[in-house]
Amino acid sequence: MDTDLVPPGLTYLADNIITRQNILGVSKEQGARWAQKLDLPAHADTVFFAGCGYQYSAQLEVLMSMARATDKSVIGSELPMRFARFQKKLGLNLPGIYSNVLSRGGETEVKPLEAAVKVLRKLGVQPGYLAENEPCCGAPLHHAGLQSKFAENARQAYRTLKFAKVKRVIGIVPYCTHALQKLFPLYVDGYDLEVRHFLEIVAGKISLFKLKYPRKVRVTYHDPCQLVRYMSLVEEPRRILKAIEGVELVETDWTKGEWATCCGGGGGFETVFPELSQVLAVNRVTELMETKPDIIVTHCPGCIMQLKDGLNQLKVEGVEVLDLSQVVAAAMDL
């Protein structure tokens, strides 16, 4: 294997997935903490697949701000990323740093997941959740080019899901859902899990509910690449947003739907080019701001992180970045 050609940012994520089943190498219990008050059953035919992105969003923000700072300095991000990979040998405790951040109020960041579960329940779907037993989809391995590792991980993840007697998966993180839905069948013989994205379920039932946002708002929608160009979920988020009273959907002229501009955080790109990734986030936010929105809505933990950073860099005040699940939950008064 010629992993020397894989940038250190990606090998860092890959090692964490292989050894700890999550992209940051922290404990799975930490990731599952968001669901404590929700009483989700550990055994069910249909499970909600929370994924790393939302569960570890607070920790990811820390990693990214550290990476961006070093990337802009003379040090560059390669060396620290290379070291991070050998953190245990060097006595460096990144997961520990992440945990401290979490205890300092990082829990506000898990809201999209809680909102999504509440929305599903309101729609009559009662999903289970595997919590610390939820396997990692391994998508970053695929994006890094480590296909045999990805295949191995996919087979293991499939066995874990089958062992838990799962038949259907409701995904929410675009990368995870795409991996489980489109990539796993390429590597797992006899793959028989039905995988749907949260958006599809909500869009299918939304007309049955009266939705009203707490206040009148101008909303622009940022399409995550995986949802719009890999899974063709173009019309669904728009149908949902348009069904909400009080929400005025305002979109850019060109860069929407299939033509949406990437937020700059695709497939681990942000760990390889932390600074460039930030430049792209600023560009995307600049485009979206042309619509003069009160809220930028998107539906991907990576995009949320990028767009928030973009707003910060541009020193924009009074504009929120929210996940679509949060907007729907608010409109259902949940």
Binding site: E258, C262, V272
Partner: protein, 403 residues
């Protein structure tokens, strides 16, 4: 990365570009006008979209058949009293062209990415010839000693004030930084005018080649190609084997789709060239070199293309019509221009670097710069799946497969 310094240097290069506000401004203007023009061109000629599907089928049929098509084209060209050659490598192409040109010649050249790929101009200068790039953008690049930053608009990153300064220096006439662009264009025209007629040799590329008749299709707007391929006594064309399609009718389709997605309703000129100039007007005796070139040489460059054609996923890179549309949709290109590239740009450039130039380090740098966001595929007339190629390429690089 194996050669750590390579990646660090590459990253520095693209970050410098990303922090260059003038470059950003030039690019954002170009993106806006390009999108508007393509939209307009496709609305005016809506059949183009279906025609592009047909072109994809033509390319899918042609690429596995490059050897046969090349031989067919060469025999057609020779029947037309031209000369055809296959160059297996860049060095071989330089040798053939160098041999035809010789030394101490005046050469007028049209824009050619393939020429850029093998360093044709530099080679001809090195062996003692005077070469003038005649495409305005390429002319600017040549005189600046820079390299092209876009496949269709090589000087896309140069603002007009810089052009004025450059022209003042080389033309010996003062051009004010706030001069009209039309005046700058006129100055270039005046400067190059006599070169076309004094030149010993004209060199061009080609956008498409019809194998059955050996006909080159060359699309342009400036008219420099008409002059460069028509006025000098010798015309030499360098063209990549991937530009070959079976028939004339296929070539028309590929041409129309190329220019439309390159943002033109219709270009000012399309030259169709199949052989040297000839006349039979005096006693029906065919005589070569009437008003046009007496000699016509076509060099088909393999340079790794037939190798690339054997990779089931990566071969899509050879379907590329070089319309340049994808570049305007790439979020990274929007801030770095051609710095995200090698001989060719963005994701396709990564494939090219890996398989055609067999430079794994460069290929890795480029492959991991792709966001795999997929907007290029949305734009591409022949639906080249760049993210799919990039993931495949990363696999080959990461898992140590042969490139």
């Amino acid at each position: 990365m194996k050669k750590k310094s390579d990646f660090t240097e590459y990253k520095k290069e693209i970050m410098d570009a990303a922090h260059d506000d003038r470059l950003r401004l030039a690019l954002s203007r170009a993106v806006k006008s390009f999108r508007g023009n393509v939209k307009n061109a496709l609305e005016k000629f809506p059949h183009t979209v279906a025609l592009a599907d047909e072109v994809l089928k033509i390319k899918e049929k042609s690429i596995p058949d490059l050897e046969k098509l090349t031989r067919q084209a060469i025999s057609a060209i020779e029947e037309n009293k031209g000369k055809g050659y296959i160059a297996r490598t860049a060095e071989e192409a330089l040798q053939i062209i160098g041999g035809l040109v010789g030394t101490k010649k005046l050469i007028v050249k049209g824009k050619s990415m393939t020429g850029e790929e093998i360093g044709l101009r530099e080679h001809l200068e090195e062996i003692g010839n005077e070469v003038f790039e005649t495409d305005l953008g390429e002319f600017i690049i040549q005189k600046m000693g820079s390299r092209p930053m876009h496949i269709l608009s090589p000087s896309i990153h140069v603002p007009r004030e810089d052009v004025a300064r450059l022209f003042s220096k080389i033309m010996g006439q003062e051009i004010a930084p706030d001069a009209e662009i039309a005046d700058m264009v006129a100055a270039a025209r005046e400067y190059l005018r006599d070169k076309f007629f004094r030149a010993d040799i004209g060199i061009s590329g080609a956008n498409v080649v019809a194998a059955e008749t050996g006909t080159l299709f060359i699309i342009e707007n400036e008219g420099n190609i008409r002059l460069a391929t028509g006025a000098p006594p010798v015309h030499i064309t360098l063209v990549g084997m991937e530009k070959l399609v079976p028939t004339l009718s296929d070539a028309f389709k590929v041409s129309e789709v190329t220019w439309r997605y390159a943002n033109y309703t219709v270009p000012s000129y399309v030259s169709l060239i199949s052989g040297p100039s000839k006349t039979g007007d005096i006693e029906k005796v065919t005589t070569y070199g009437a008003h046009g070139p007496k000699e016509f040489h076509v060099i088909f460059l393999d340079g790794g293309r037939t190798r690339l054609a054997k990779y089931p996923k990566l071969r899509q890179a050879l379907y590329c019509l070089r319309c340049g549309g994808c570049l305007y949709e790439c979020p990274v290109f929007a801030v770095t221009a051609g710095h995200f590239g090698d001989k060719y740009f963005t994701g396709i450039g990564a494939v090219w670097a890996a398989i055609v130039n067999q430079d794994r380090e460069k290929a890795a740098s480029l492959a991991y710069t792709c966001l795999t966001c997929g907007r290029c595929r949305q734009r591409c007339p022949v639906k080249i799946d760049v993210p799919e190629m990039i993931i495949e390429l990363r696999k080959m690089l990461a898992e140590g497969e042969q490139t």
